[in-house]
């Protein structure tokens, strides 16, 4: 029993890493652009498949494919923003929301058109899990957690040490004030897309490494990612990390009681509970 809880918590941290990376980007984008980006899950999917193209198509090692996919995902996100969202930014935020649902569908259809609807994997090699004190752990899972920690540290340094990072936080706190003090808000927006997309691509690749690739993979984790974002407090990147871990661990632990297919429902229940008790999230200011 105790061992099972520890084991599931370990799996939960792996799942939580993927969710956190998605939720950080969503939270940052929400803070800067004030709209819920519904295509975020599908950006994850695109990233995962771009890495697949690098690994399976070009025969690159995983780290190189990772870099390629991040570059591709960032370029795609900035392109979509410039071609579409920028033109709609002056309308109501909810129009952006509708537009992002359309983008989600376009991205998923593109992935399905190019790579087909069947599930795929990065490597056919069978992985033997390591055993640490009777806790099973695959080396990919270790890589996922280590990669997430590294990305979070880099993000933290960026947000606290660079001018752009500070400008970003300023704009999330108060966009009008940021504009008044001379921050180039359009540049901040582009950077936000770059960071959000890079983290989403990483999340997508990690998800593909942990499970399998499928055109709907990103759409199906969108709900837990949103739950994590709300749990941490919308617009709070650090809160999103905590939210992601809570959602990930709770989802895995729930499999002791409920069938595993209902993991997304657990994330939803957590989100609903949070909305009822404290809608601004764990780290948001109380209403």
């Amino acid at each position: 029993m105790f061992l099972e809880i520890v084991q599931l918590t370990v799996y939960g941290i792996v799942l939580g890493s993927v969710i956190s990376l998605g939720a950080i980007g969503l939270s940052l984008l929400y803070g800067i652009l004030r709209f819920a980006h519904f295509a975020h899950g599908d950006v994850m999917t695109v990233g995962a498949y771009l890495a697949l193209a690098g690994v399976a198509g070009l025969g690159l090692p995983m780290w190189a494919a990772f870099g390629l996919a991040v570059a591709g995902g960032v370029a795609l996100a900035i392109l979509i923003d410039q071609a579409l969202y920028r033109r709609l930014r002056r309308t109501a935020p909810v129009i952006l929301l509708i537009s992002s649902v359309g983008v989600a569908l376009i991205l998923r259809s593109l992935v399905q058109f190019i790579w087909g609807p069947d599930t795929q994997v990065y490597t056919q090699e069978l992985q033997m899990p390591m055993r640490l004190l009777d806790i099973k752990l695959k080396s990919t899972q270790l890589q996922i957690v280590a990669g997430t920690v590294a990305l979070v540290v880099v993000l933290h340094l960026f947000l606290t040490r660079t001018r752009m990072g500070k400008a970003m936080r300023a704009m999330a706190d108060n966009p009008d004030l940021a504009r008044v003090v001379g921050i180039d808000t359009e540049r901040v927006v582009v950077w936000t897309w770059a960071i959000g997309a890079a983290l989403a691509v990483a999340a997508g690749i990690f998800l593909g490494m942990d499970t399998r690739l499928q055109p709907t993979m990103g759409w199906h984790v969108l709900l837990p990612v949103f739950a994590a974002t709300i749990l941490g407090g919308i617009g709070k990147p650090y809160g999103a990390i905590v939210g992601g871990m809570v959602v990930g661990i709770a989802s895995e632990l729930s499999t002791m009681v409920f069938p595993p297919v209902y993991k997304p429902a657990v994330a939803f229940a957590l989100m609903v509970a949070m909305l009822l008790v404290r809608p601004t999230g764990l780290f948001g200011a109380p209403r």
Binding site: V101, V103, A104, I106
Partner: protein
């Protein structure tokens, strides 16, 4: 294709347009009139369909049931159940920001999908529920399905008339005022959360009704028919293309988009090589997505924009900015 086949096809086509039209009318209550963002349409549609299906089918070994109730009772129960779920979702989210409702509706649609797929005792899982009675089944022979179409048309007329009446009533005015300027309505002493809740529940009830009709039209329901993205997304495109806020726009959008959707499907089925068929479906979805973006960028008010709403007291207009979010409709 002889005349009989053509007639049958036209009946089939129009019945589907009608059902989608009812869904679009339901979304128009929520989004068009009140500005509530529901992306869980497929969930409420499915609840209506499955409730009616389970209540009206004869006993089966595959799933709970055997109630064998008449179709109208099944439809009413479907409407009640989808209203109930909408009430729960609304009570939790409607006093929060608009995005929370959107996220919550995705969540509820996803959970409904999981339940339909996995709770075999209730829904027979992926195999679905068959043998749902057609309207007036056993009364007379109807090889063309024209009775279905008439029933759907009757429902559209009723829903349309009721919504138009509601739209022009004080209730409808409050709804649109909430959409345009919430603070002003609050200052006028209206209970905004309650009005929103009414709108959300009414819209979802209409979606549940469409679901019930769908179940009785096809005689078969399975989780695949209620894919959250597919149905939900098409309805959104229909409403936005037709003109949100305008009930006639919602119906026109349903006709236009379904014509494009079914028309391209017919063309690809007929002329595309078989190995291209699954990809053709993907391309069609891609094009619908692009169509939505183009409409949002170039003609956000849709084909039939909502008429500018001018209250009797015309002089108030200057003090009430933003009487329409489109800006290019005619007065």
């Amino acid at each position: 294709m002889d005349l009989f086949e053509l007639f049958t096809f036209a009946v089939f086509f129009l019945t589907l347009v009608g059902i989608y039209g009812i869904l679009a009318l339901g979304l128009n209550v929520q989004w068009g009139m009140t500005g509530l963002f529901n992306i869980g349409i497929a969930g409420f549609f499915a609840i209506g369909a499955y409730t009616s299906a389970i209540m009206t089918t004869p006993a089966s070994s595959g799933h709970v049931g055997g109630f064998g109730l008449p179709m109208p009772v099944g439809l009413v129960l479907g409407v009640l159940f989808s209203s109930f779920i909408a009430l729960l979702v609304g009570l939790i989210t409607l006093n929060l920001r608009e995005d929370y409702l959107a996220i919550a509706t995705i969540g509820i649609a996803e959970i409904i999908r999981l339940v339909l797929k996995n709770e075999e005792w209730l829904t027979n899982g992926v195999r679905g529920i068959a043998g749902i009675p057609r309207p007036f089944a056993g009364w007379f022979e109807d090889p063309t399905g024209v009775t279905n179409l008439l029933v759907v048309c009757l429902v559209i007329v009723m829903v349309y008339a009721a919504l138009e009446r509601g739209r022009q009533s004080p209730w409808g005015r409050v709804m649109r005022a909430i959409r345009e300027r919430e603070v002003a309505v609050m200052a006028a002493g209206k209970d905004i959360v309650r009005f929103r809740l009414e709108s959300f529940v009414l819209g979802s009830a209409i979606m549940g009704l469409a679901g019930g009709l769908y179940a009785h039209f096809f005689g078969f329901v399975s989780p695949e028919a209620f894919d959250p993205m597919y149905t939900t997304f098409l309805i959104w495109v229909m409403l936005i293309a037709g003109g949100s806020g305008n009930n006639r726009g919602a119906l026109l959008g349903a006709l236009a988009i379904w014509t494009i959707w079914a028309g391209t499907e017919y063309l690809t089925n007929r002329f595309a090589p078989p190995e291209f068929l699954t990809r053709a479906a993907t391309v069609r979805m891609l094009l619908v997505g692009l169509l939505l973006e183009v409409i949002l960028l170039t003609r956000p008010a849709g084909l039939l924009p909502e008429a500018h709403f001018v209250a009797r007291a015309d002089d108030r207009r200057s003090t009430a900015p933003g009487t329409s979010d489109s800006g290019d409709g005619d007065d």
